[in-house]
Amino acid sequence: MKKTLIMAGIFSSLIISSAAQARDTLSLAGSSTVLPFARIIAEQLGKNPNFKTPVVESGGSSVGKKGVCDGVGTKFIDIGNASSRMKAKELAYCEKNGVKLTEIKVGYDGIVVANSKKGAPLNISKAHLGMALTAKIPACYEGSGRSYNCEEWIDNPFKKWSDIDASLPDIEIRVYGPPTTSGTRASYAEMVNQKGYCGKEKIAKAASAARGDKKGKKCRAMRTDGVFIEAGEQDNLIVQKLNEDTSSYGIFGFSYLDQNSDTLQGAVISKTAPTFENIAGNNYSVSRALYYYVKHQHIGVVPGMKEYMAEWTKHWGNDGVLSDAGMIPMPKSERAKYKSAMSSLPVLTAADLKK
């Protein structure tokens, strides 16, 4: 009996003592779009015998931004990856928990609408793309078959692409895309539904203003009537579906189109094709920046934070391994700016986010 008591004591004290031990592996989480790039950097850092390979979790941008803000201490992650910028609300959560962050932009990623090469190529304007997938639209479009009251918002009635514009393919609208936790989804909804459609297209712009939503934020919601299909945080799944179902389209990051360029074709959006050059040259309009957020309080506590950041600067250039993997590099001036931010570590404030 005594023996078992002693054993139990040793066992529990082992657990407690090890729990108090500081973590020596960098821990990251967040956007599944940043993940492939972060894991390349993590692996490169792991080659250095002085550091362990960082642990990179996925989960989506919101998980990254929330996770890094959850608090200070080694039980929380050190760096949050995100493919959409932090919002004021998310930063407020950080400040509430006493977390100080530095924002590092690492590159860009284009969001593409693509389909199988066997299907009809799509050449569409951003406004029309928004019109196809926004949950509610004004009721006064040709072919929508509803009342012609432009200030009334109805559930999106369009069934076929050709209902929107005769130049578009005569097939049913069916688009696979990421779920709400995804930064890709958030960026797409903001750039296409909100800015491209409700912010540009005359009828929707007027109707948005009429309902007191000048910025068109209400347009961000995607259709839920089975036309837009959430396919989970698994972009590869969408790619597979597109190869099987040639009449459907998918929304995902450029790197997946890049890897599958022999079977998939990207839709030409507002007269620009999603190519590496177009996204890098800022011609392709549906692209977003990729970020990671570094927690100040963990620098020096968890080994390898600074080195991890520095590792990015070695590979994020025009012909580094990251661009091979499909990330679009930043222009030189931006690279210089964020490289210096890695050493000066400016604290992210709400004012910065407005810029």
Binding site: A19, A20, P36, P49, T53
Partner: protein, 431 residues
């Protein structure tokens, strides 16, 4: 109204008639059963067929053989074979030089493309070789290096020569280089030494399941160490010692409920208790094993209780009759006799735990982890998570690797279940 009496002959006839009907009903039932089983077998065969045809190529990959000049000055500049010294060395440059001497690329751009033909794990490979065998220094030895995943896909025929150059990931120039290597007979297709011995990697040609496999083993052993003793003890207490009253009934109902709780809930609980309150690190097999133990406990308790109940009371009575104490009855008779049932339940619970990813998501084990865990305190991941992650990676070669990993996981599961069957057959006793 009198019931009409029927003659024996009529009775035989009517029975004969009905017997045909009843038999055909019988046969139909049999047929339905066979169809059901046939369908299940078909699905199973289809699953196995698709996994094995896709997965077997995943165990193989293309290699290129190069002559490497093991120059100690350059590979091991400090001369002490330490990790740091090898890291500072220029092994990859040596490999590139050897490659260039064969394919002779002209110009900076061609050289850059040529460099990518050989997997980026080349320097690690050389470092490993000289560490194992320092006598290699000073020799020129033929060494096999994995080819980059794009080249591998090209050689397998997934990337086709006919596709226009702009649409494929391998340029005409690189295809020319590969053809040259092929003519020299330097490219071979053989059993991959990465898939079983390598760890997670962003480069599919170097990715392997060792890290996840060891992570699975560590997690499962923690799980077993916690859940088996606890589960058996609970079952014994509830069946043999505790009085049957409201409280035990309440506990019983709750255990049964717990068995039906979705596994992700245990993960959330693990996050709240083990990580947030106890402050344990994320992503470690210790926490993963504890969470999975909570999940498997109900399974073990329920099956153990059933096993204990199946021990005939006469055994207990006989033991009491010759003056055994309660403890002696339980430990000398009831537990040994109930062991086969308990073990079967435990192994099935373990097999279930082996395939779980949902509870591990919350505690950070669904992650890209390269380093192979040495203990339950090092970050680690498990096999199903590895499969899940590979399935999502953009690189084409991961498709085969995923199926290969599924084969390994299936093998693991089948052997665990076979062990359960074997133990049951071996230890089972009939009364």
């Amino acid at each position: 109204m009198n019931k009409k009496r029927i003659t024996p002959l009529e009775a035989t006839n009517s029975v004969k008639k009905s017997i045909v009907k009843r038999r055909s009903k019988d046969n139909r039932l049999k047929l339905y059963g066979r169809i059901a089983i046939g369908l299940a077998v078909c699905f199973l065969l289809f699953l196995f067929y698709s996994i094995f045809t896709k997965g077997f190529p995943g165990f193989f990959q293309y290699y290129v053989t190069l002559d490497i000049n093991f120059d100690r000055e350059r590979i091991d500049p400090k001369g002490d074979l330490s990790d740091n010294s090898l890291f500072d060395g220029e092994a990859s440059k040596i490999v590139n030089e050897s490659l260039f001497s064969i394919i002779e690329p002209k110009g900076r751009k061609a050289k850059k493309q040529a460099k990518k033909i050989v997997s980026s794990g080349k320097d690690v490979r050389i470092a490993k070789m000289v560490k194992n065998d320092p006598s290699l220094f000073g020799t020129i030895t033929k060494v096999k290096f994995a080819l980059d995943d794009d080249i591998d896909s090209f050689l397998r025929g997934y990337i086709k020569r006919e596709t226009p150059e702009s649409e494929r990931r391998v340029s005409d120039k690189v295809i020319g280089f590969v053809d040259k290597l092929n003519q020299d007979g330097r490219i071979t297709y053989e059993f991959s030494d990465y898939i079983l011995k390598g760890s997670a990697s962003g480069n599919p040609e170097m990715a392997g399941i060792k890290g996840a496999f060891i992570g699975s083993m560590l997690t499962l052993s923690v799980c077993l160490l916690i859940s088996f003793p606890l589960g058996v003890a609970t079952a014994v207490y509830l069946e043999e010692i505790a009085k049957k009253n409201r409280i035990t009934e309440f506990i019983e109902v709750n255990i049964n409920n717990l068995a039906a709780v979705p596994s992700v809930v245990f993960g959330i609980m693990g996050l709240a208790i083990f990580i947030s309150i106890f402050g344990m690190p994320r992503s470690i097999p210790l926490v993963g094993g504890m969470v999975l133990a909570l999940m498997t406990l109900p399974t073990i308790i329920i099956s153990s209780r059933a096993a204990i109940r199946a021990v005939p009371p006469s055994v207990r009575d006989a033991a009491y009759g010759i003056g055994a104490s309660k403890l002696q009855v339980i430990f000398h008779h009831v537990i040994p006799l109930a062991m086969p049932g308990m073990l079967t339940g435990t192994i099935i619970g373990m097999a279930q735990a082996l395939g779980e990813t949902a509870p591990l998501l919350m505690i950070g084990m669904v992650a890209f982890i390269v380093d192979i865990p040495n203990s339950v305190m090092d970050p680690g991941t498990v096999l199903p998570v590895q499969i899940f992650m590979w399935a999502d990676f953009a690189e084409r070669m991961f498709i085969q690797k995923t199926s290969a990993a599924i084969i390994v996981l299936l093998g693991f599961l089948i052997s665990m279940n076979a062990l359960a069957v074997y133990l049951r057959k071996k230890l089972e006793r009939r009364w």
